[in-house]
Homo-oligomer: 457 residues x 2
Amino acid sequence: MLSAAIDYARSNYPRFLDELKDLIRIPSVSTLPEHKSDVLAAAQWLGRELTRIGMDHVEVITTPGHPLVYADWLHAPGKPTCLCYGHYDVQPPDPLDEWHSPPFEPTERNGNLYARGAVDDKGQMYMQVKALEALFAANKGKLPINIRVILEGEEEVGGEQIARFIREHSDLLKSDFALVCDTEMFAPELPTLCIGLRGLIYTEIEARGAKSDLHSGMYGGAAPNPFVALAQIIAQLKDGSGRLLIPGFYDAVRRPSDDELRAWQHLPFEEEHFRLTEVGSSRLTGEPGYSVLERTWARPTLDVHGMPGGFTGAGAKTVIPAKAIAKISMRLVPDQTPQQAFAQYKSYVESIRPDGIELDVRLIHSGDPIVVGTDNPYIQAATRALKKVWGKDTVFIRSGGSIPIVGDFERHLKIPSVLMGFGLPDDQIHAPNEKFHIANFYRGIESIIEFMNEVAV
Amino acid sequence: MLSAAIDYARSNYPRFLDELKDLIRIPSVSTLPEHKSDVLAAAQWLGRELTRIGMDHVEVITTPGHPLVYADWLHAPGKPTCLCYGHYDVQPPDPLDEWHSPPFEPTERNGNLYARGAVDDKGQMYMQVKALEALFAANKGKLPINIRVILEGEEEVGGEQIARFIREHSDLLKSDFALVCDTEMFAPELPTLCIGLRGLIYTEIEARGAKSDLHSGMYGGAAPNPFVALAQIIAQLKDGSGRLLIPGFYDAVRRPSDDELRAWQHLPFEEEHFRLTEVGSSRLTGEPGYSVLERTWARPTLDVHGMPGGFTGAGAKTVIPAKAIAKISMRLVPDQTPQQAFAQYKSYVESIRPDGIELDVRLIHSGDPIVVGTDNPYIQAATRALKKVWGKDTVFIRSGGSIPIVGDFERHLKIPSVLMGFGLPDDQIHAPNEKFHIANFYRGIESIIEFMNEVAV
């Protein structure tokens, strides 16, 4: 059965890729209200596809936000149940003028598929669907293990609906482990399992000064300026070296084990190559005394994403804006919690409020940091599957990104997650010219097929 | 003749106001390329009107930017020549949702005319046109003095075209003094001449970090963040008390005379009333040890107007933007010069450049600070005219705003400017719900009529 499923997949790859392109063409940008119907269309497209390949109980579940897509196939008694997770929403494509081909017109170049969502997460989510199709086709309409599928449309905006669904319907999702395909390989050709994720608090600080916009000639020197106030606050959140200045923020940070730190030193990582090819800045920044991998995987960080307000057009407008906003997020690591981190941040920001300014410090969304043990049996089955497809031992890494759903699976379903991802470090996720290496799409499908079979043994 | 012109004006006020409304309805926003044809339309409208009232040599002068409108009437031998200046371009109306009536649909409420440009500067500019019409009508097609009119469409974006025209064609504008109606009265019913203006340098700092936008999960802790860098820079430009930290910036600042400072103390100004009714913030800010009038009229200041870049939409996008911009201006006072101030600022900003960030510090536009003496004969003629119309002695103030044209008149035409303005402190220029007190529009016309006659004596 094993090779039959892989044979089926291989003989259908061109069609699989065409189908993925159709899904990508639906601009399901979850954060923009004008794309609400596109997000729904992507959900319905996936519902039809899950029905077509042979899943039972396919349902597009409406919610107060974007819909969830559920399906199951539970006819393998005595076998484990896998909860396949993915998300079909994408980040906004802006800035549009930096794309070499339109973000929602998937384009093949140099063996890659370029488009918003190509790898994050439509392409990686669709690997699971196609692996299931191949297993059904090769096994006369049966699967080697029990499968539940849950797909969400709000991953890029905090995943509120799926989090609520898991909290309220944990019985409906009862499984033994989850398979999450939304991470990346450490390097090309290096099979990778991600066993740790940073958490997140995404916040806004709104600063208000004058009651309305004022002329900076008439009032400059007397009226408080909300942008100057936000700049003063931000400059006090993080020092010049990159260390956060929020009191108590580092107290709960757990240092990775010596074994884990030693293993990271043997990963094929060259700081100068990373700087030149991935970041491209004149130098890297961050806390002194920590390696780049530690800084991005195992240390909390703070970034400012945008500062809406005032005049942002071309040319000059001499306005003192009545208000301005800073969109600021912090990455968290075990054992920090979003609740405590936000409380520390809010309290500190309010304590350094500049004169004449009122502040509103709000939490937009959050996610828990997590770490999974390498001795977990599903992690071990995954390493065997990856060895078969890629011919190499798996490396265990962490990710600096946040997948809040993994924390929800752990907390509410009491199950571990296998984070098996096939993105590459230069895939430009969330940025212009996002891509997915097409060979990884294919081998990802094969890896999932092998994984399901390993779990069934 | 004097009372005949005033009589004519009074019997034509409703028509004058209707004409002004027509001019205001043309959305001549000079900074927005999509309004280029509206700016031209406003120029052509004014050209037709100047021809209709009896001016000679009316010309809409095309330039590489927005047009100039020129007219003259030079048939009063032995009499002085007045150069009437105004601008027909306006600031952008945003934020639109804070207007109580549409910005380009002039609306009368409580004796005021609400619209973008009502007072800055269409209404005040049009007072001059209507004063000339009344003088022509009352004097059989003649004026009491020689008049040149020059109107520009780029005042709100730096006035590059008129500055170049004055530089290159100073012979065509040869005059004895300029009349500029673009300032405000210190208080309602208090005739005011503005004898000092702050200068300006309007700049942008562009900060660049990574070569493209990056995911803050993957790269947070290693990639430089341009917004954090700009915040660190801004926090080092001005301390918490409002004092600028640019080395040498205060060296050229000339303290107002003791007489001038004493006179300011007798102006009807209450700091708490100003705070509550005009600014509306929880407290005023600015350099310790200086009064509000000193801080806004006679001290340099720095404001941030907007910080374009990154993600500014609703919701969350976890991006480390490749670049961000801060739009920052500084007001200058005698004897600072824009050239030196910008050089000091640029050099200081570059000296505090955060690690991993490249900076581009650019000057968008600038204007000289100026002070005019109260013993000037045209200033004295103006005070006599204002006494007749308003029944009160004139107060001499400065303005914190910048009218670069006044510096150009001084430098290239070697003439002083009479800044006779009839705006009010709560007119909300450059902000939503800009207004012009309609009675001031009428009495402004009468003041200009009397002024022309006083100059002719």
